[in-house]
Amino acid sequence: MRKFFSQMTLPSKLSAVWVAFICLLALFGWLLPLPDPREFDIDAPGVGLFSPGHLLGTDAGGYDLLSNIVYGARTSLMIAFISVGLGGIIGSAIGIISAYRRGRLDYLVSTGFNILLSIPNLVLGLALVAVLATSTDGAVQIPPSRRIIIIIFSLTIVIIPILGRIARGATLTWANREFVVAARSMGMRDRDIVFRHVVPNVLPAIYAILFLAVGVVIVAEGALSLLGVGVVDGVSWGAMIARVAGEFTYAPQSMYVPVTVLALTVISLNQLGDYLRGRLDLREGKI
C-alpha cells in the first residue's frame, strides 16, 4: 500500500489524500465540535469565511457551512457508495454472465443496456424519483429517509448499464482465451471457470470504472437536488446547493463552498480512476 502510494504521480497523490480526507470527514466528522447542521445561528446569517464560530461562514439562513459539508459528506458519499456498490455488483454479474453465455441472452442484455444508456442519467434519475418519491397529496409528506432510499435505487439503475457494459466487454476478451479451454479440458464446470478464471481477469477493468462511477453519482445527486427532487430537506451537498440557489448573491460563499468541495471530490475521483485504469490495464507483455 505504502509502496503503491509512493509510486503515484503527484496529481494522483493529491487526489488520494483529498478523497481519504473526505471519507474520514464522512465517517468521523460527528466527533468534531461543530454546530448542528440543521440549526441556524440567528446572530450570524450570511457571514463570510473565517468568521468566529463559523470557519467556512454561514448561508443566508444562518446555517453553518462547515457543519453542513461534514454531515453532508456522509449522506452524499453514502448515496454514492451504496448505489455504485449495488449497481456495480448487479451490473458486473449481468455483464459477465451474458458475455460468457453469448447467444440470445447476450443480445437481450446488451440491447437493454443500450436502451438504458441512451437515456441521459439525469433524466432517468429524475423520472424514477419523480414517480416513486413524490406524493400527489400535499398533506402526505415523504420522509427524507425514504427519499434517500429511492434516490439510491434510481442511481443504482443508472450505474448498472455503465458497469455492465464494461464487465461484458472485458469478459468477451477473456472468455475465449486458451486457458479457459484448458480449464474446460480439465473438467471444470462453467461456474468454476467464471469465478476462477474469468472474474480475476475482469476485475481490474471494473475497479477503475468504479471510481469514475462514484464521481458520476455524486454529481447526479447534486443535480437532482438542484432540480428539487434530491435530498431536499435533508443534509447533503446537493441539498446545500439547492437550498442557496436563490439567495446566492447575498451570501456567495454558501454556493462556492459546497460546489468547490463537490468539484474537488469528483475531480479527485476521476483522477484516481484514470490512474488506476492506467496501472491495472495489464497487457500480457507487461506482466
Binding site: G103, R177, V181, A182, G187, E284
Partner: protein, 329 residues
C-alpha cells in the same frame, strides 16, 4: 490390443458467413491402449480441430460434428456435455500449444495446479498442495515448493510448458492429447519437452495423441502415424512401416521439406508449392492434386478412397509411391 479411443467417420464443419467450412472430413482412427499416435500435417490441415473434436472441446452454435467417438467403452458423441465433462481431466486431458496463453496470467502456479485435484478429485487444500509438489517434481521442475507461489510470467517458456504438462497430468488421465506441445518453444527446449512427454507416457502407462507438423518428431516419439491433409486422413500406418514404405506423395513432400543439416549452405529450401484447397469449396478430385508432382488426370476428377496395403497401412492415393507406372510419368 484394445483401443482406448476409436474415432469413426468424424466430420467437423463450421458455419461461416462464406458457407460451411469443412475442417475435418470422415476421419477414422483407432488409438490403441498404451501407445502413442502422431497426427501430422501442415497448418490448416485440421489436426487440431480433429483432436479437439474427438475430445469434445469444440463448442459453439456454429460447430457441426458428425460421426462417433468412443472412449473407454463410452460413446462420447451420444453423451450430454455434462457427462462428457466427467471424463475430462481424469480420463482425457490436453496440453496446449502455447503455454503462455493456456495459463491464466493473473493466478499463481500453485492455485492453477491444485484446481484439478481439488475440483475433480475432491482433495482438500493440503492434499492438493502435496499433489502439486509431486506433479512439479514429476515434470522435473527443480525446487517445486517455491514454484507454487510464482506467476506464469515469471517462468521461462520451457518451464511453463512443464507446468502445463503437470496440470494436464494432475488427475491421472488415461489418454493425453498433446496439441503441438513444442511449437511455441525454443528448439533447444523442444527436444527436452518431447523426451519428458515420452518418458512420462511410459511411466504412467498413458496413451498419447501427439499433434505436430514435424515428421521428425513423429519418427522419434510415436508408434503409429496419421497424416492429415485438407481435413482428411490421407495416410496412416505404424511409424516404422510409414517411413519404410511411404505411399502418399504428400507425406513424401512433407518429409522432403525438412531442412537437411548436410545440405549446401545457401541451398534453396524445398517447399511444397501452392496452398491448401479452400475448405468451403473443395475440388472434386484429390485435394492434393494441384500441388502433387505425380498428378494424373484421374487425380483431378475422382476423389481417391482410403485403400489398405496390408500391415495396417492405409492411404488415399490413386497412384501411390512405389507404383512403377505412376512414377514413370
Amino acid at each position: 490390443m484394445t483401443s482406448i479411443m476409436s474415432i469413426r467417420d468424424l466430420s467437423v464443419r463450421f458455419e461461416t458467413p462464406r458457407g460451411l467450412l469443412e475442417a475435418v472430413r470422415g476421419a477414422s482412427l483407432e488409438i490403441a491402449e498404451g501407445t502413442s499416435i502422431g497426427i501430422v500435417g501442415e497448418s490448416g490441415s485440421g489436426k487440431t480441430v480433429l483432436s479437439r473434436a474427438a475430445m469434445g472441446l469444440l463448442s459453439g452454435r456454429n460447430v457441426r460434428r458428425e460421426g462417433t467417438v468412443v472412449f473407454a467403452g463410452k460413446e462420447l458423441t451420444a453423451m450430454r456435455p455434462a457427462q462428457v465433462r466427467e471424463e475430462f481431466g481424469t480420463g482425457m486431458a490436453m496440453i496446449f500449444q502455447d503455454p503462455m496463453t493456456a495459463l491464466n496470467p493473473v493466478r499463481r502456479i500453485g492455485v492453477q495446479l491444485a484446481e484439478g485435484p481439488r475440483v475433480r478429485l475432491g482433495m482438500d487444500k493440503k492434499a492438493a498442495r502435496a499433489r502439486s509438489v509431486e506433479l512439479l517434481s514429476l515434470v522435473r521442475i527443480p525446487d517445486p515448493e517455491s514454484m507454487l507461489n510464482k506467476f506464469p510470467f515469471q517462468l521461462s517458456g520451457g518451464m511453463r510448458q512443464r507446468v502445463m504438462i503437470a496440470i494436464a497430468l494432475a488427475c491421472k488421465p488415461e489418454l493425453l492429447f498433446a496439441d503441438e506441445p513444442t511449437t511455441a518453444l525454443d528448439v533447444t527446449v523442444q527436444a527436452q519437452i518431447l523426451q519428458l512427454l515420452s518418458d512420462l507416457r511410459r511411466e504412467l502407462k498413458m496413451s498419447m495423441v501427439l499433434v505436430t507438423h514435424d515428421l521428425g518428431v513423429v519418427a522419434n516419439h510415436t508408434d503409429y502415424v496419421a497424416v492429415m491433409y485438407a481435413g482428411e486422413i490421407v495416410e496412416q500406418a505404424p511409424t516404422t512401416e510409414l517411413f519404410a514404405n511411404m505411399k502418399m506423395p504428400y507425406t513424401e513432400a512433407l518429409l522432403n521439406s525438412i531442412p537437411k543439416i548436410d545440405s549446401k549452405s545457401g541451398a534453396r529450401m524445398r517447399v511444397i508449392e501452392g496452398r491448401l484447397p479452400d475448405p468451403t469449396d473443395r475440388p472434386a478430385g484429390c485435394g492434393f492434386a494441384a500441388r502433387c508432382s505425380y498428378v494424373q488426370d484421374k487425380c483431378r476428377e475422382e476423389h481417391p478412397p482410403l485403400l489398405d496395403s496390408g500391415n495396417g497401412h492405409l492411404y488415399r492415393c490413386w497412384f501411390p509411391l512405389g507404383h512403377t507406372i505412376a512414377r514413370k510419368q
